[in-house]
């Protein structure tokens, strides 16, 4: 399952750090964060991403407390 979320993040370097960290999470197949389009794309094995999104948001907040991730 592949889904796109909106991510409000401040700098390009932070975006790539979030991307790297989320990719290390269990259950994440592939994650891309585009600073330019303000978009986080998450591909997971599971069809329901509600649970894993909580983990993704927690990880992202750890790296960049200011960032906001919302459903598109």
């Amino acid at each position: 399952m592949k889904k796109a979320y909106k991510i409000d993040i401040d700098c390009a370097n932070c975006a790539s750090k979030v991307e790297a960290a989320v990719n290390k999470l269990e259950g994440v197949k592939k994650c891309t964060v585009s600073f330019m389009t303000g978009k986080l794309t998450l591909e997971t094995d599971a069809d329901d991403q509600t649970e894993i999104m909580k983990e993704v948001i927690r990880t992202a907040k750890k790296i960049e407390p200011d960032c906001e991730i919302t459903a598109k």
Binding site: N13, C14, F35, M36, K39, K62, P65, D66
Partner: protein, 610 residues
């Protein structure tokens, strides 16, 4: 500027003004320290707060932390002005970054603002304004002059001209009348038309295009990955360097203040932001600039790869040629050209083959059905008919040879005609070249790209087109599966030098499009198969756009390289100067923010492709 940016700007100005004011007050000691703290905190409080939070989260090497340490360090050694100035300048850089990114996002968004929010649906004689998503396939919608077409369809009433500039970059309006396909995203210019929809809104061209451009940022280029990985090592290495610079020499000469001061210079330029931002910003701009020209690129990786094209492989029919057949020459034997053409047109009167159509078009006269008494289609060979009581054969060499009739060789695709066993001559049919095809191939050749044509057509027809279009190499009589093995062969030959690009119409060459390093589909107006299968989509049929795409790719790559080299060089120079005490924090922050601003300005040039 957004509200937040305005606030940031206000803080920067306030802090700068206060800093000047504080400098004018002649005081010393703790009061001085406290006074300088005011402008420092006004501009730097956010940075300090963020770095504290991030340390709590175990994120040490981020730019907030570096700026915090550098400026607190400067305060500690009594360089109050320096500390404030560095913080102010750092914030100026950040603000500039935000404004620039916002700008380029906005210009891309404007570019992509081609999906109308409503459709005028005809329902029971009334016209109703509805959400395009609610319109079912086969419904009738009305598009008035000045409106954008919301859904793909076919005109059933009215005649107008369409502005396709948002889709193709082509400024000349296209005329369309009843029976013609109409593509969503075009602007209706002159008259109201009624359209029967052929697709749902979500499946229409405009939706597909938007989806494609939006997703393109997910496919990152190699240089983007490189710079991200680089940033990961760069910052810690510079910070360690700074620590060493502060401690090691001091142990020998005891001049702690001097060496710490120099080490702080390192911290100021250890932030990799300019680099990390400027690369994706350039690609983003390049993709945006390309879409303005009707070239859709599915990712930064393809935009990067296009510039490295070593061989461009083309399908013949529909790509290099128009895919429309026309009579090229008539070679009668013993009768007049007109008589031969007439005979052929009569023989082909009921055939739907494009070749038959081209013969009827060339004849142009009225066909009297009464004269044809018998008619039979000989699959793959031609037709036989009885015209005015005489038996006429009209078809390829094989058809005539089977009846024991000798034929003369022709170039291209030949249709031979015989009447009552007597050979009357041939008509040569050929596909005409697309206008601009020759120029486009020439432009590719100038860029050092080898051009190759693949076709299922006869060798003679292929040879003729190859000569006309000026292609370097061609392979004829290929079955669809042969094309895949041919492209593999070509990749084997040219793949070591660069990328192999395949350009086709996307309808029956999907496997080849997929196999090539870069698959380019042409004339995607209305064909989603092409959009799916390819990496680059040329929305209209023009081959010039391929040359343009390569040009945009080269320019974008050049800008990316410029940015990387420039930023790294400046940082290296400042690091070296800092090591010998020749550069202070003032110069360092100037260099750092200066690099950021210049790289961003340079990257934004990518947006401006004409």
């Amino acid at each position: 500027m957004t509200k937040r940016e305005k606030k940031d700007l206000a803080r920067i100005i306030a802090s700068a003004a206060l800093l000047i004011a504080v400098n004018l007050i002649p005081i010393d000691g703790w009061v001085k320290f406290a006074l300088y703290l005011v402008p420092y905190l006004i501009v730097g409080f956010e940075v300090l707060k963020k770095s504290a939070v991030n340390i709590a989260h175990g994120q040490i090497f981020d730019e907030n932390f570096l700026m915090a340490v550098a400026t607190i360090g400067a305060f500690a050694i009594g360089e109050y002005n320096e500390a404030c100035f560095v913080m102010i300048f750092y914030e100026v850089g950040e603000l500039f970054e935000h404004v620039a990114v916002g700008r380029s996002r906005k210009s891309i968004a404007a570019l992509m603002d081609i999906r109308p929010d409503t459709a005028n649906l005809e329902r029971g004689g009334e016209i109703e304004e509805v959400d395009p998503d609610e319109v079912e396939v086969g419904s009738v919608i009305v598009v008035r002059p000045g409106e954008r077409v919301p859904i793909d369809g076919e005109i059933i009433e009215g005649e107008t001209s369409l502005d396709t500039v948002a889709l193709t970059g082509e400024a000349v309006p296209r005329s369309a009348k009843a029976g013609d396909a109409i593509i969503s995203g075009c602007v209706n210019l002159t008259a109201t038309v009624r359209v029967r929809t052929t697709k749902e809104a979500g499946e229409s061209t405009v939706a597909k295009i938007l989806e494609l451009v939006e997703n393109s940022a997910d496919n990152k280029a190699k240089s983007e990955d490189f710079i991200t990985r680089f940033a990961k090592f760069y910052t810690p290495v510079v910070v360690i360097g700074a620590v060493l610079l502060a401690i090691v020499p001091s142990l020998f000469d005891g001049q702690w203040t001097k060496w710490i001061h120099q080490a702080l210079t390192f911290l100021v330029i250890s932030c990799p932001c300019a680099l990390v931002l400027s690369v994706p910003l350039s690609f983003f701009g390049g993709i945006g600039g390309a879409s303005k020209n009707g070239i859709l690129i599915k990712g930064s990786n393809y935009l990067e790869a296009l510039a490295k094209t070593s061989a461009a492989v083309f399908d013949k029919t529909g790509t290099l040629t128009k895919g429309e057949f026309a009579v090229q020459s008539v070679k009668p034997v013993g009768i007049s050209e007109r008589e031969l053409l007439e005979l052929a047109a009569y023989a082909e009167l009921d055939s739907s083959h494009p070749i038959a159509e081209s013969i009827r078009d060339a004849f142009g006269g009225k066909i009297d059905r009464e004269r044809v008494t018998e008619w039979k289609n000989e699959a793959g060979r031609g037709v036989t008919a009885v015209i005015d009581g005489a038996r006429v054969l009209c078809g390829n060499e094989k058809l005539l040879r089977e009846s024991g009739i000798d034929v003369q060789k022709t170039g291209g695709t030949g249709v031979h005609i015989a009447k009552d066993g007597e050979y009357l001559g041939s008509i040569v049919i050929s596909d005409s070249l697309k206008p601009g095809a020759r120029d486009a191939l020439e432009a590719l050749g100038r860029g050092g790209v080898k051009t190759i044509m693949l076709t299922g057509d006869h060798k003679s027809a292929a040879e003729e087109i190859a000569a006309k279009v000026g292609i370097d190499e061609y392979h004829a009589e290929l079955l669809p599966q042969d094309k895949v093995s041919k492209i593999e062969e070509i990749i084997g030959k040219y793949g070591s030098v660069g990328k192999v690009l395949f350009c086709g119409d996307g309808i029956n060459d999907a496997p080849v499009l997929a196999r090539a390093d870069i698959g380019v589909a042409m004339g995607a107006m209305g064909s989603d198969a092409a959009i799916e299968a390819s990496d680059v989509v040329l929305i209209d049929d023009k081959l010039e756009k391929l040359a343009k795409a390569l040009e945009i790719s080269r320019k974008t790559n050049r800008i990316v390289t410029e940015n990387i080299v420039f930023a790294l060089a400046v940082k290296a120079v400042v690091l070296a100067l800092g090591l010998f005490g020749a550069a202070t924090m003032w110069e360092a922050v100037f260099a750092d923010v200066g690099v950021l601003v210049l790289c961003i300005l340079n990257a934004m040039r990518c947006l401006r492709f004409k």
